[in-house]
Amino acid sequence: MTRTPKRELKEMPLSQGDIPRSSCSRKLCRNLFGPVDHEQLQNDFQSMMKAELKEAQRKWNFDFETETPLEGDYKWEKVSHFKVLSPQELLSHSKENSCVGDKTLSSPVLLQIHAKTDNPGQGSFEAESSRHLKRKQTSIKDFYSSKRRTIPYKSNP
């Protein structure tokens, strides 16, 4: 008997969702600019995602498809000992920084990034330290100044 209210609870968000949204009126369902070429759409999508990936590869000198480091400003290091960590150990690691857990676990190959300018003595295998390094590189100030720089050549891609 106790199951019924539970199920109702589960369904509530859905049923609530139906209330404020009205159905689509006929006159508004229209195709504005003629038939859509689905093949071209797919091709454009593929090529744009590829370009995006290439840009990221260039920026981080890292091949994200094969997960291999490339030559460039950043020195990538494999973090291997995480594979043998038990979930409990990982949990205790991520307590200090709650983002660490999912981030590192989601990648099959765990890698750590150091900027060349960084002190080589910091090259530990701790995920936390990698987070700190990343933060250093993407402080709000860096972000904004790089945003400003990109604006002028945004206009001619």
């Binding site: 009126s25 508004l28 600019f33 071209q40 995602m49």
Partner: protein
């Protein structure tokens, strides 16, 4: 254990009241003014980026987007925010016109997700394109648009300034609510018109409030604020040049007039139509006229 809340949010979406500690803090307004230009499209793209897309096509897709947002009772900011995404994308990516409606749908999809408690679904948006776009394509292009916008979605829109401006005007509460409704309609109107795409949101907000006050003729009669005093006060609030603001307000009024003329309606002068606009006192009338 058997606690069950049967309360239904009877059709109305629950919203938080404006937070006085945000609205009354000068720093919030100052910060909004300081960062708003970061979210403007990088260029006037019909001249330098787009070859296939013409200004009238932007207007077509914008009108359709506005109608979809209205029918789905989206939050007021969703439409202007979606138009901001659309303009910023078109300023960087040359787009064939047959992809424009898909882009419009993606922009509503993103803006709705950012601003609404119950966002629009991809399926529903595809139905609105008469199924010319597939849900999977919408999801694919969502990624493309996000990438091109650099995941920078929390753009500042004119709506962000409205509370800050209204707070500083000496009108009674009921009038303020009316001004707000009308100003929101003007903001939506501006978003459909490309001429306003490069204007800072604060200027559109100030111009819209000015146009709303004038339209409601609150700047006449016993009011302390005559036209010029009002314009100067508004200009001071958002640090806009008085002349720019005047020009912007006039532009808004003329767009309203030209939109009214496009729709079969008994011909009348601008002030008359503004009167009609008052009487219905719903926020949607300007936009209904726009259809």
């Amino acid at each position: 254990m058997e606690l069950l809340c049967c309360e239904r949010a009877a059709a109305a979406t629950r919203r938080a009241a404006p937070d006085p500690s945000l609205v009354r803090d000068e720093r919030v307004l100052r910060n909004l003014l300081a960062v708003e230009e970061r979210y403007l499209p990088s260029c006037s793209y019909f001249k330098c980026v787009q070859r296939d897309i013409q200004p009238f096509m932007r207007r077509m897709v914008a009108t359709w987007m506005l109608e979809v947002c209205e029918e789905q009772k989206c939050e007021e900011e969703v439409f202007p925010l979606a138009m901001n995404y659309l303009d910023r994308f078109l300023a960087v990516v040359p787009t064939p016109k047959c992809h424009l409606q898909l882009l419009g749908a993606v922009c509503i999809f993103l803006a709705s997700k950012l601003k609404e408690t119950i966002p629009l679904t991809a399926e529903k948006l595809c139905i609105y394109t008469d199924n010319s776009v597939r849900p999977q394509e919408l999801l694919d292009w969502e990624l493309v648009v996000l990438g091109k916008l650099k995941w920078n979605l929390a753009a500042i829109t004119p709506h962000d300034f409205i509370e800050h401006i209204l707070r500083k005007l000496p009108f009674p509460r009921d009038k303020v609510l009316l001004i707000q409704k009308h100003a929101q309609s003007f903001i939506a109107l501006c978003a459909t018109d490309f001429n306003f795409a490069m204007y800072p949101p604060s200027m559109i907000a100030t111009g819209s409030v000015g146009a709303a006050v004038c339209g409601l003729q609150l700047d006449e009669g016993e009011s302390l604020l005559s036209g010029d005093v009002l314009t100067e006060l508004l200009a001071k609030i958002t640090n806009t040049e008085v002349d720019c603001l005047k020009a912007c307000q006039e532009q808004i009024e003329s767009v309203l007039v030209s939109n009214l003329q496009e729709v079969p309606q008994p011909p009348g002068d601008a002030s008359k139509t503004m009167d009609e606009l008052d009487q219905s006192s719903t926020p949607t009338d300007v936009r209904d006229i726009n259809l």
